[in-house]
Symmetry: C2
């Protein structure tokens, strides 16, 4: 086959995939070619525009490091991460709703004992997080793994500091007790702009969009026999709840940030004066057979 | 807006673009969101598959350097570069047909006098290239700029050697003489696999595709008052003419590699014995008003 033009190139590329022996790879490749060609045919890019797209993608890849994932930001800000999340969580009613992982998850977070204070480099307002993890029948799940991470009171994650991954902060792993409970002390996180000094920030500018996310705490929750849940808990009243740049907000994930009166939290833990509380009841779905 | 799911996320992202004041940026962004979401909805990627896509794109960006452009390779091997080329060259009949720029174009090539030998680091079989550049009425174009580059007899470009861009070879700029002619000496280029030690090579493997391009010489031709042409001349008889991995072959761009008998080329230039000839008549289209 030779002499490809606008009318025959798409089928030619599809024909070239006929030797693909992995059916899933073939299906994905065929769909990619069809949708990508349809996009290009619709917008009819100039050669300068297509070269600009190549440069944009190249810069996006080269912005990535061990503490920054610009392609996840791109997927998040185009709503694709939430779409993939929705496709993969057609769960039972009653389980905790899911949302995006985001670009700041770090696998190497440390284990802490329940109750630990996990914010060492921030002197923001005090916070206690009190959660329970249950199954869909209301039974507590003991020994469940909680991975949690959040921004400081100025809206920055640990890995955005000069120390990068060498000084993890506001980031920890816990396990629930026999009653399915976990709790830890930290600082109240602030709303923040996603990192906008790279290609994704330039894209948002060009699209006339703000780069902000409402204040939230991330959770990744897992336990044997249950589906893993990746989610956030958002703080009610945040001005960005209705315009989250990554489309991650769900009403069921919003909770009040309440001020604790006195020196004992609702969960029975001693706290300093003026400590705020985030409390949330998480429900893990039973593992689906796949 | 909150609570995004498979049914409402696409429209939500489109709505978010309503503040985009650049109509072209808005049109491109909207089309990107619609086609990208349609692709994801069709293939329903698992979270592992989508994470794999993020990793693939990240590695593709990080494979790029000043001598390698992996995203151009991706665009080329998915047939998108030829599609963009076709969309942008709906020219007058009679002009030379165009094809992909490819990933090995280098802006910093040197000027040479007509007739120069441009292969210094290869001892492959001798070649003389003799071309003319004319307008669509058959008038020679004097002083036209020729940028030309090609692989050696083993299928490697200069920038693929250890010396990178520091020792450009088989790559030059010339200007046509008063009769619109140019000629230079080099070595016969071989068919070659595109660089396949990166993500694009892995993709081709997974798709069951070979990575080869048929032997060719690249040309970028420009002159005041004419549209710039980016094209190749292919060598007839190559086994990959019908399966070029980047879909770049057009019959009108194929020419014989003829062996010159004696010591004088058809263009009247002295050559060594057993020199091969590539001759081609290029026609530049008049500049379109845009």
């Amino acid at each position: 086959m030779r002499n490809f033009d606008e009318d025959n190139i798409t089928q030619a590329v599809l024909d070239r995939l006929s030797g693909c022996t992995d059916p899933r790879m073939r299906r994905i490749s065929e769909a990619l070619v069809r949708h990508l060609h349809a996009f290009v045919k619709e917008i009819e890019p100039s050669e300068e525009e297509w070269a600009g797209a190549i440069t944009f993608l190249t810069r996006t890849g080269q912005m990535c490091s061990d503490t920054r994932q610009e392609f996840i930001l791109l997927s998040d800000t185009l709503g694709v991460s939430m779409l993939v999340d929705a496709i993969n969580h057609r769960f039972d009613e009653g389980a905790t709703q899911t949302t995006v992982l985001g670009p700041f998850y770090v696998e190497e977070a440390r284990d802490f004992p329940l109750g630990a204070h996990i914010a060492h480099e921030s002197d923001g307002p005090g916070l206690i997080v009190e959660g329970t993890i249950e199954d869909s029948r209301g039974n507590p799940i003991a020994g469940a793994l909680i991975e949690t991470w959040h921004a400081d009171d100025r809206g920055f994650y640990d890995v955005q500091r000069d120390t990068g991954k060498s000084a993890l902060d506001m980031r920890a792993r816990f396990h629930t007790d026999q009653e399915g409970r976990f709790w830890y002390r930290s600082v109240v996180p602030a709303a923040y702009p996603i990192p906008n000094d790279g290609p994704v920030g330039a894209m948002l500018d060009a699209q006339g969009r703000h780069p902000f996310r409402p204040a939230h705490v991330h959770f990744k929750l897992s336990a044997p026999g249950f589906e893993t849940i990746v989610t956030h808990v958002f703080i009610d009243g945040d001005p960005y709840l209705d315009s989250d740049v990554v489309f991650g907000v769900k009403d069921a994930l919003i909770t009040n940030l309440s001020r604790i009166e006195g020196r004992v939290s609702p969960g029975g833990h001693e706290v300093e004066s003026r400590t705020s509380l985030i409390a949330y009841r998480f429900v893990l779905p039973d593992k689906t057979i796949s």
